[in-house]
Symmetry: C2
């Protein structure tokens, strides 16, 4: 007879199934429409803003800036701004970010490999 963990236990250790858990928010950030793609591109190495904009097809400057801010806020991306003209800003994955990026890339790789099957399943 093991007792099921209490709500506060679940929140402390991070339980995505609990609505009030902050892990929900983090997961939302990491799995966001653009965040996934940005993490994948950043896994190749440091990139600057406009390079990211070109690599991530379809992202607007607004969404790119906003998503980068979220990732930076969560400590997954480091922003380094060089005070030169024209402006030069570098974005790099933190160690934490590298781990997250590896996970989302594996997921994206799987999707890419299985798109044909999935599309076929829609008959």
């Amino acid at each position: 007879m093991t007792q099921p963990p209490s709500l506060s236990d679940r929140l402390r250790r991070g339980d995505v199934l609990a609505a009030a858990c902050p892990s929900r928010e983090v997961l939302r950030h990491v799995t966001g429409r653009w965040a996934v793609l940005i993490l994948i591109v950043l896994e190749e190495g440091t990139q600057r803003f406009s390079a990211l904009r070109r690599r991530v097809d379809g992202v607007s400057e607004r969404m790119l800036a906003q998503t980068l801010k979220h990732l930076e806020h969560d400590g997954l991306v480091a922003r380094v701004s060089h005070a030169v003209v024209p402006p030069h800003v570098d974005y790099t994955l933190t160690p934490l970010g590298e781990e997250a990026a590896a996970h989302v890339r594996r997921l994206a790789d799987w999707v890419e490999a299985n798109v044909p099957q999935i599309v076929a399943a829609r008959g």
Copy 2:
């Protein structure tokens, strides 16, 4: 001098970085707010509608039904309806769905394990 792959090549093999690629849409479904949680719960085994509703804290019936439809449409979830009263409907992961679920669960596990660090990083 290898030529970079053409757009049509990238679309055929599934390239999330290309805006027109259907893998983008599939990725959106799989990483959707509720889809992630539903996949994780379904990984434990077949579940019925109301059981899912109870396990996935905070989901509304509308969103649950809609998300299940998307996942079914993509061939990740199988729906079996028993014609009895009261209604009884079972949801199960397909082999394809099991693979997807494994990936998202690993990502969610990582997030859960690292929430404290991430929250701390927001200082």
